[in-house]
């Protein structure tokens, strides 16, 4: 094109300068018209056909005005579309990626990390309202603010913590005249003692040397007398425990607490020693007065039938007030709240079990044989009380630990006194009390519980923590909701990852586009923002995003998807599927958009590099194909359980799984590296002068809305669907996820109750024999 023609066309399209793409399009059309006119002129024998064509063209200024009028409405709509993309779509995508994408990954961290979980749930902080403090999925699936406030109110009413016991006492006062007032008091009382130690100073006066209590010749450092506040606090503690004894006379809890408090400062048993060989350490008597008081409380404690904190009763009350948990966080919140309270008291129960043998040895050394014999013969009352107060498997495990410790050490004491028969009987009694739990452990080891089925069809969580929770066969149908729940959760996190990767690609495209803008400005050019037509855009979104997601949804919910098998065995295949999906979502829409952009650039006369698959893209594709091969192999092989593969491949089964996993790891690594390299290469190209600069800049700029649309589609459509499925499977699972009433798996309470009754039967038999 000669300069005059170029100038003519420029002038004629000056009115379209605010829409560079349209201007280019019209310029090319007018140029085509002029060239055709010149051709016809030449055919008629004109000498200067181009000049003749320009002459017949008419006034460029008039044409510019007419073109502006004719395209005004179209330009306005196109400007609105560009504004929508730049001002709304892209920022929305960034927000969606941060809120939903990053929030999804943080959610994963919260769910798997106990520290983060507790921080998030703010178990120990009753002053903070129960808010979803981390980025989370759409609010519509979470409780409303009013419901959250109600949740906090209900939780804080029953949420225990040592520093919070005044609030719990007020709760008891509100229910003081109720028939179940003792439950409120017992629940409160368990926390009171934790901050109240006896204010008397610890003075190391005596130690047990062999079988004698001897004074320590070298006095310890100067003791610190109790402050008035400490003295008042402890006096209040003692008063509260006395009140508890009156309010709740059958419960050993109050004597238990007093015993712990007195003995904590009164003595130190050798099994509490932190030295490497505790059995070679002495027992220490710190304070005779406190020791005697502790012993009195232990005796009083053993007279009571039960030792309980009514914790589960409180959990049930609280959960009756709260709305049902709809998502995993709700279940975790409820169960971890209950567990955090439970473990505190379990630690104290264990602590007393360590002290009792030491107390017996000190009594013997002091010549107080009657008191020592009482404990030697009635030690088993303590685990019996604990058993009656048990509601969870954790309670029974502590009973097991307490019984084992007391049984062993007391038998040793009897042995040291020369009472061999007595020692044998103690060991036998301990074995009888522990028989139930030992039988449960053996049942699991021998595979009576359907371990194989659990491996194949159960939830991942069930496989790693079901040790003590299940004592019957579960059908595949029963295991289904928990299993599908786990898949859904991981699909959510895969979606979050995809959103973040797409958002990253969007931002790198934006940076590259900006770099091209600076590079092209010197040439008077600007990278175009090419927006395909509605039809073309719909085709790209449908084929590049919706179709792959729909195919995956169908595949995963049909038998071919292998969802009948749990993640415990199916994880390599699932991981491969995620890699394939990620790869497709990152590659396919971009490829479709790139094709559309190339076509448009060709129409606009923008120079294009040769088409083809660069090495980088080939690398990306190879990663996708590699992962797809793994999925295909899994489909063909059925499920990759150890037993099935052993049958098919014999001793090579383990190698095959390893080989598949290695392939997958290579595929993931290749994809990640290629993505990074490609991004860097695209950016570095902006520093080169190239005929294709306008195309590359236009490509970078025009890909931004595609990535934005993909992020919004995933966040706005896919994530909510997956959340709904998560809620659905949680509600339907009645086998393996924490029940709100027992803070354990739903299968556990039945097992616990059965085991508890068996332990109590054994205890009753002991009592009858005595």
């Amino acid at each position: 094109m000669d300069k005059q023609t170029e100038q003519l066309i420029d002038d004629a399209t000056a009115g379209l300068r605010h829409d560079p793409e349209l201007r280019l399009d019209v310029q090319k059309e007018l140029l085509s018209h002029l060239e055709q006119t010149a051709e016809d002129c030449r055919a008629e024998g004109c000498e200067d056909a181009e000049a003749q064509a320009r002459k017949t063209f008419g006034s460029p200024l008039e044409l510019a005005a007419e073109l502006l009028n004719g395209n005004r409405r179209r330009m306005r709509l196109r400007a609105l579309a560009r504004l929508f993309v730049q001002a709304l779509l892209v920022p929305l995508a960034v927000l969606a990626a941060l809120y939903l994408g990053y929030g999804g990954l943080v959610r994963l961290a919260v769910l798997v990390n106990p520290q983060l979980k507790y921080h998030y749930i703010s178990i120990n902080d009753n002053t903070a309202p129960l808010k979803i403090s981390l980025p989370s999925p759409p609010r519509s699936l979470f409780p409303s603010q009013g419901e959250i406030d109600a949740q906090f109110e209900a939780l804080s009413k029953f949420q225990g913590h040592p520093s919070d016991y005044p609030k719990l006492r007020r709760l008891w006062e509100q229910h003081k005249n109720d028939p179940d007032a003792h439950e409120y008091y017992g629940y409160y009382a368990q926390f009171v003692s934790s901050v109240s130690h006896h204010p008397r100073h610890r003075l190391l006066q005596y130690k047990l040397s062999g079988t004698r209590v001897v004074p320590i010749p070298t006095p310890p450092a100067t003791p610190t007398p109790a402050s008035p506040k400490e003295a008042r606090d402890f006096a209040q503690f003692e008063a509260e425990m006395s009140l508890g004894e009156r309010v709740d006379p059958d419960n050993a809890l109050y004597h238990f607490k007093l015993a712990n408090a007195y003995l904590h400062d009164g003595m130190l048993a050798r099994s509490e020693s932190t030295e490497p060989n505790p059995e070679q350490q002495p027992d220490y008597l710190y304070d005779s007065l406190l020791f005697d008081r502790g012993m009195a409380e232990v005796r009083a404690m053993l007279q009571k039938p039960v030792l309980t904190t009514y914790m589960m009763n409180m959990v049930r009350r609280r959960d009756a007030i709260l709305p049902p948990a709809r998502l995993s966080e709700g279940y975790l919140l409820h169960s971890s709240n209950a567990m955090s309270e439970l473990f505190y008291i379990l630690a104290l129960e264990n602590a007393l079990a360590r002290k009792i043998p030491g107390c017996i040895r000190l009594l013997i050394a002091q010549g107080r044989m009657d008191e020592a014999n009482y404990l030697l013969e009635n030690w088993w009352l303590y685990p019996s009380q604990l058993t009656r107060g048990s509601h969870t498997m954790y309670d029974l495990l502590v009973v097991d630990t307490v019984t084992r410790r007391l049984g062993t050490e007391i038998a040793d004491i009897d042995q040291s006194l020369g009472r061999t028969a007595q020692a044998e009987r103690v060991r036998r009694d301990a074995t009888r009390l522990n028989a139930v739990i030992e039988a449960q452990k053996l049942k699991l080891k021998s595979g009576v519980v359907s371990k194989d089925d659990l491996h194949r069809h159960g939830a991942f969580l069930a496989n790693i923590s079901s040790g003590y929770m299940i004592d019957r066969y579960l059908s595949v149908t029963e295991m289904r909701p928990a299993r599908l729940y786990e898949y859904t959760m991981l699909e959510q996190f895969g979606t979050s990852l995809a959103m973040l990767l797409l958002a990253t690609l969007m931002l790198t495209a934006a940076v590259t586009s900006f770099a091209w803008l600076r590079a092209l400005r010197e040439r008077g050019a600007v990278p175009l923002l090419l927006l395909p037509s509605w039809r073309a855009s719909a085709r790209i979104v449908l084929l590049g995003l919706v179709l792959p997601l729909a195919v995956y949804a169908l595949y995963s919910r049909l038998p071919i998807g292998g969802r009948e098998y749990g993640l415990y065995t199916n994880w390599p295949r699932f991981l491969a599927e995620m890699v394939v999906m990620l790869g497709i979502l990152l590659y396919l829409p971009e490829r479709l958009m790139r094709t559309a952009i190339r076509r448009r650039c060709r129409e606009l006369g923008i120079p294009l590099p040769k088409p083809g698959l660069p090495l980088i893209t080939l690398g990306l594709l190879s990663g996708i194909v590699g992962a797809a091969v793994i999925v295909g192999m899994n489909i063909m092989l059925g499920i990759s359980t150890g037993s099935e593969l052993d049958r098919m491949f014999g001793r090579f089964a383990g190698s095959l799984i390893g080989f598949l996993v290695l392939l997958l790891a290579i595929a993931i690594a290749v994809m990640v590296v290629m993505l990074v390299v490609r991004t860097v290469v695209h950016y570095l190209r902006t520093r080169e002068t190239s005929d294709f600069a306008l195309y590359r800049g236009t490509l970078a700029r025009s890909l931004i809305p595609l990535y934005a649309a993909a992020v919004i589609l995933l966040g706005g459509l896919v994530q909510p669907l997956l959340l709904q499925q998560e809620a659905r499977w949680l509600r339907q699972d009645h086998s393996l996820y924490p029940t709100l009433q027992y803070a354990e798996y739903p299968l556990a309470p039945g097992t616990v109750e059965k085991m508890k009754q068996q332990v109590l039967q054994a205890a009753e038999q002991l009592e009858q024999e005595k």
């Binding site: 019209v26 059309e29 085509s32 008419g58 044409l63 009028n69 004719g70 395209n71 179209r74 709509l77």
Partner: protein
Amino acid sequence: MQFNPDLMRGSVETIILHLLNERKMYGYEIIKAVNERTEGAFAWKEGSLYPCLHRLEGDGVIASEWVEGDTGKQRKYYHLTKRGAALCHDKVAEWEAFTKAMHAVLFQPAG
């Protein structure tokens, strides 16, 4: 013969729609076809045609696509959409009625 621009303005759309109803065409082709069929009576300029084409395209009455020709050069062809086909039919009917009425006034004897 030079026609009044106001007279021409109203007919450009109808002519374009009718021509595109026959087959798809590019801009220069439309100008040539009009010139030939009217034996030079309608000698359209680019300023008459292209703004009208673009306006019709913006209204969704016609659509365009770049097509590579035999010579390797790309040309922008226009064709009617469904909406355009319906509009074409209405416009032609309107023009028929208009010319019939004009003819009745101008050339039929009174009474």
